[in-house]
């Protein structure tokens, strides 16, 4: 991991509450990050908000790293005020990533919602580059939150209110694909209720799934032990350490569906 001060190339609103931030970060990009990895941005130079914010990497070109973020609270509001030429302090790349195992027998199904879209979109671009047939399902509450245009018939957009694409959540679409396609492997990132539903389907239908988890993080580098999630099957003993809980920041953020327990 590298700590680097990067020059902002651009910071633009691309959809309702969704912004794209491009930062020149030659040292971090030289580490060749993978889809699923994240960076920690130092947003507030004052100590009113002392902690960094973890943000998924949305991709990179040459020496510029891209982040797509959703405005959510005060810290992301401050982030929208940064302009080209400003510098921002970044630590990364952090965490593990989606593993793309060469496999001719199953079809990747990529699913994203909300702040989970950037890494999944990047994975989609990688698979396109490798000319691998796959499905991409992106969910949002309404049309205004969508910022991509489907590039083929296997890219499916859903909205809760039916204002764009398929009405409803990503879940019925996933179920339909699983029942129509022989052998799938799932890659998902998004809000916890969505991941929980995907986990349930993946385990019930025995489809391998990799889920990228969000968590509150104080440090992002394994120091504070704050961002834990419970393991799914663990042998409870009277005295144990890291048997019941794993760290989202350094053991994850990507976990196999069978590894973790959202309850």
């Amino acid at each position: 991991m590298i700590n680097e001060s990067g020059r902002i190339i651009s910071n633009l609103k691309i959809a309702s509450n969704i912004w794209r931030l491009d930062i020149q970060l030659p040292q971090i990009v030289a580490k060749r990050p993978h889809p699923g990895q994240f960076v920690e941005l130092l947003i507030d130079r004052s100590f009113a908000k002392p902690l960094r914010r973890p943000m998924s990497i949305a991709g990179y070109t040459a020496d510029v790293l891209s982040i797509i973020y959703k405005t959510f609270g005060e810290a992301t509001r401050i982030l929208t005020t940064k302009i080209a030429g400003d510098f921002i302090d970044v630590i990364g790349p952090l965490g593990n990533y989606f593993e793309l195992i060469e496999d001719d027998y199953s079809t990747p199904v990529l699913i994203a919602g909300g702040v989970g879209i950037p890494p999944i979109l990047w994975l989609h671009q990688e698979l396109n580059r490798q000319k691998q047939k796959h499905f991409l399902i992106i969910g949002a509450r309404t049309k205004a939150e969508h910022f991509i245009t489907p590039d083929n018939e296997n890219t499916l957009l859903t909205t809760d209110d039916g204002s764009l694409g398929i009405k409803g959540t990503v879940i019925p679409v996933l179920k339909k694909i699983i029942s129509n396609v022989v052998g799938t492997r799932i890659f998902a990132c998004g809000p916890e209720p969505m991941l929980k539903s995907i986990q349930k389907i993946a385990l019930a239908t025995k489809q391998p799934a990799q889920l990228s988890i969000e968590s509150h993080m104080a440090c992002g580098v394994g120091l504070c032990q704050g961002c834990v999630i419970k393991r799914r099957n663990y042998q409870e003993t009277e005295h144990s350490y890291q048997v019941k809980y794993v760290l989202v920041c350094s053991d994850g953020p990507v976990f196999k569906a069978g590894e973790i327990d959202f309850d």
Binding site: F47, P50, A218, Q225, C227, V228, I229, H239, Y241
Partner: protein
């Protein structure tokens, strides 16, 4: 950097900049992001007799100028620590002070005995009698002067190494606990541990911390920490190590003026793991420019009365 040399008990430290327990892991995790050889000492994450999973999530939440944590002393336990971590400290570039926690007096004693029974180059111990996030022990001990004295006395009889007692601010009079530690033979006290705090999400109406209450740290608690350090400085003969919201060289100077011989950087490590090293260099510049030693500032705050 001779301006920065300080002494606690019989131990000489190259500078007064330490990193606080629980904010720097075991000192071996983040060499990518800083040069630990610059630090005066690393205080390890709390070690207990048995391994501990820690509390269920959510364990941390940011608050204005700080954060609340309730990790619950998650750690590998003393046996694993001695086997896996102590060898890594062989020829380590800075001093290691092991932080010890326990649920009973016997547990503290057993952990320290285990450390004393093996050969290692750890410098000493910081005794955590002030963790607000565990049910038994922890802070319940640190609010009781009698218990503090009895525990410190027992630990003192077991080691010649540096013995520091870490004090809780969640008491009526921190100097009473500090005096008890001094009377029982502690080489120094460190102050303060976190303040009991709470954070609520007004939208979901949920507590932001699983255990409801957690420990508040960061710049938000600095004024409380300064007052505690100053009160301890006035009442105690043994050195006081300041902790609480230190993020830069002016904070470091303020803690010295309040009476601290050294200080620990805590929450700021989460924001910038290199912050300790930066403070060392800035403090050295400050001392050189003002032609003084850091220790010259001790307790020199100018008061109105």
């Amino acid at each position: 950097m001779t301006n920065l040399t300080i002494k606690i008990g019989q131990t000489v430290f190259k500078n007064p900049v330490f990193v606080a327990s629980g904010t720097f892991g075991y000192g071996t995790e983040i060499n990518d992001l800083t040069d630990i050889s610059a630090l005066g000492a690393i205080i390890t994450k709390s070690i207990t007799l048995h391994p501990r999973e820690g509390n269920p999530p959510p364990r941390t939440i940011e608050t204005l100028g700080g954060m609340i944590n309730s990790i619950g002393l998650a750690n590998m336990g003393v046996d694993n620590y001695i086997r896996d971590m102590l060898p890594l400290y062989h020829q380590f570039p800075t001093k290691i002070i092991v932080n010890i926690a326990g649920s009973t007096m016997e547990e503290y004693l057993q952990v320290l005995k285990k450390f004393e029974s093996v050969s290692s180059n750890i410098t000493g111990y910081e005794i955590n009698i002030s963790c607000p996030n565990v049910k038994e022990g922890g802070m319940a001990f640190g609010v009781n002067a009698d218990f503090t004295a009895r525990l410190t006395e027992q630990l003192r009889s077991l080691t010649q190494r540096l013995l520091i007692v870490k004090l809780s601010p969640n008491v009526t009079d921190i100097t009473q606990i500090g005096k008890a530690a001094q009377r029982a033979g502690a080489d120094a006290v460190s102050a303060i541990n976190t303040l009991v705090g709470m954070s609520i999400d007004s939208t979901t109406r949920k507590s932001n911390i699983y255990t409801t209450y957690g420990g508040l740290s960061g710049p938000a608690i600095k004024p409380v920490a300064l007052a505690c350090v100053h009160k301890l400085f006035l009442k105690l003969k043994i050195p006081v190590i300041g902790i609480g919201g230190i993020t830069n060289v002016s904070d470091a100077i303020e803690f010295a003026l309040a009476g601290a011989v050294a200080f620990q950087v805590g929450t700021a490590n989460f924001r910038d793991p290199d912050i300790g090293r930066k403070i060392v260099y800035e403090l050295d510049d400050y001392c050189t420019q003002n032609n003084l030693k850091y220790s010259d500032l001790k307790g020199q705050v100018i008061r109105y009365q």
